[in-house]
Assembly symmetry: C2
Homo-oligomer: 409 residues x 2
């Protein structure tokens, strides 16, 4: 039975998630602990007519050892051969599945400066690759499966086996694999997301005002011709895919210079194995001008200092408080799940596709339109049960968007 569900999940990801096409190459980025699942996806891909599957293995325990024991200079480098793999294969049209299953506590004893530098080197080397993904020129899908260390963090009261089993069930629930026909369930889900996008795109709000009992009081200006997107994406060639599984959000971008006020985090942020928790950010003209954090202050500081764009916002996303992952009550310590339990914002790079015709604009033109750019794109959660969001149109009309944590329409 367990094997059956895993195969059903692998099938959903390869067919509906990354939507592998005949003769396409598929890259699977997989922790070594997830090998049986990576192989199950590879099998479906070959059955579906994929030309080839390349598995890029990750071992986070080795990565940690390297951070702790390696000489300082290596953390500013990224291996050319690894860059070539990702850039060349995606230039040739490869799709990418990434299994996000880190131990949330992995890097807590590691020098955050080393991690920040390594991340910067990696995002810098893989810029073209990331731009392709963000412009949806290639199909990609971020998914997850339980690993021992992660399951132990989510369910510390359970033994290893029970924690793994419970996390599998939570994931299957979140990605609708428990349903008789997961593919049909995803089609219905897509229709609901479409209704929310139609409401938001229909109003073309100029501002969104966020308020809640944590103390959040934030005004976000949206750029002209912004677009609310969500659910499945489509490549220029017309292939539909889901970039995340699960996904419950609809999202757009803010005007880079248009954010003012204060926002409080509502869930911890796991940034490359480091937790940042109970943090608060104050914005002026789009930039973070002050911040505090009860946990992970240095990590947050490093994140914000990655580059100029890292202290501006690149994404505004709406998720009802009453949604499957939120209702599970589980804190996953994994952005893929936690972002789909809560309204969120993202530090850093905005998706050019969130502005009309944005895919065709140069970096300079995007900047002129108020589209933020950065090496990072990192979500953080701001949604609460009492969150209120009010939309204000160009003529000053106020329209309830969220009331008591959920869509008001």
């Amino acid at each position: 039975m367990e094997q059956e569900l895993m195969k059903k999940y692998a099938r959903l990801i390869v067919k509906t998630g990354v939507n592998v096409q005949k003769d396409q190459t598929l890259i699977i980025v997989s922790p070594i602990e997830c090998a049986p699942f990576a192989r199950a996806m590879a099998e479906v891909a070959y059955q579906t007519g994929a030309r080839d599957v390349v598995i890029s293995w990750r071992d986070e325990l080795f990565a940690k050892l390297r951070y702790q024991m390696g000489p300082d200079e290596i953390f500013d480098e990224f291996p050319a051969w690894q860059k070539d793999m990702f850039v060349n294969l995606t230039r040739q049209g490869a799709g990418v599945i990434s299994i996000a299953a880190s131990d949330p506590e992995l890097l807590k004893d590691v020098d955050p400066d080393r991690v920040a530098r390594a991340m910067k080197a990696s995002t810098s080397a893989l810029k073209e690759y990331r731009e392709r993904m963000m412009a949806h020129r290639n199909t990609w899908c971020v998914v997850s499966m339980p690993t021992k260390a992660w399951a132990a963090k989510v369910f510390p009261q359970l033994d290893e086996e029970a924690a793994l089993e419970k996390l599998w069930q939570a994931i299957y629930q979140a990605v609708r694999v428990n349903e008789a026909d997961p593919v049909a369930a995803w089609q219905q889900h897509q229709a609901k997301l479409q209704a929310a996008m139609d409401f938001m795109n229909g109003h073309t709000f100029r501002y969104l005002k966020y308020k809640n009992g944590l103390g959040t009081d934030l005004t976000i200006e949206l750029p002209k011709e912004h677009l609310w997107l969500g659910g499945s994406e489509r490549t220029p060639g017309g292939v539909d895919f889901f970039a995340n599984m699960p996904t419950e959000e609809i999202f757009t971008l803010p005007l880079k210079s248009g954010i003012n006020g204060t926002v409080y985090s509502s869930k911890p942020l796991n940034y490359h194995g480091n937790l940042i928790d109970r943090f608060c950010l104050t914005f002026e003209a789009g930039r973070v001008v002050s911040f505090s954090a009860e946990q992970g202050y240095e990590v947050l500081k490093n994140l914000l200092e990655t580059d100029e764009g890292a202290s501006f916002i690149g994404e505004v996303a709406l998720v009802p408080f009453d949604s499957p992952i939120s209702n599970s009550g589980i804190l996953f310590y994994n952005t893929l799940f936690d972002e789909n339990a809560s309204c969120h914002l993202a530090f850093g790079k905005a998706y050019p596709i969130c502005i009309k015709g944005g895919e065709g604009l140069s970096p300079e033109e995007l900047a002129e339109r108020g589209v933020n750019d950065s090496l990072v794109h990192e979500d953080f959660m701001v949604g609460t049960a009492d969150l209120s969001i009010t939309g204000i149109t160009a003529d000053g009309t106020e329209v309830p968007v969220f009331r008591q944590g959920n869509f008001a329409f």
Copy 2:
């Protein structure tokens, strides 16, 4: 205790085996199942001052799935990024540890033509890398550790845990990790190998005549200025290393056109996951002119047909029948161990270092000297308890080299 021995083993490999130098990069080619051992070696390398460690992960179950399900054309290709990794890092002086721990039965249901083509693509792409290794321009060390599938093949009567434990013990015995001071034990071992090399090099034999009860009756002509080597090697920069752990052999090369007669295999040959067993080869003027095999005939045929040099011999190696691995009585189904239990020959490429000044000769000059070249280099076992080898010098003097399977001197 188990952890302790593994760490002692890791230390021996990194220090005495590949002999990592300060600021050197170390590549570890490791099955994903061997992650704890790969990490243990990485830790020693960083402690020793290595600049960086790159782990190239292998998953043989995925490799098998790919062989079985991938489209036919992909098996003639080798990924450019993987070639670049090995070639560029070793050009920069990297050392390489390879963990050889395949399931001996892995590829038995796989089309041997696909395997042969993939091996040919790989050896062809990695030609420069392999030549560096064979000329000892870089340090390298092939080692092993038990994996579940391999242990089950070696000890089919034991359960999984017991088989793994028994194979660990057999390996520790073979590599002298059980001894109080493994490094000193390897120094003594090196001295013994040196005495055997001195005997063989002192006689400068022109021919070796092999005979045993299996039916072997083979004459091997050795080229002028051949050298018997064994034990530790030395890079041009003066770094000593052991290319194999264990190693019990001393070896040289034959004159390419100088082999005549018939030789019978004395152990199965595991060729990239396929067993070739109870085979017999007849040579004329160095070339295999006929052959038979009770198991794996097609695999042997593919191996011999890889290229022109694959049906000639590139190595002649002497191992006493009374040596530690031979005495263990274990058939490892793994060349690293089985070749060190038995006198052997190798199909394919000869080591240029086995001829005086060979490192400096061009491919054409090597060919003129009778040095075989090929994309493959594959050992097969011919030693038996009754093997007799007689050396014949240029003036016709006959000198006993082996009697009853052991050195006669």
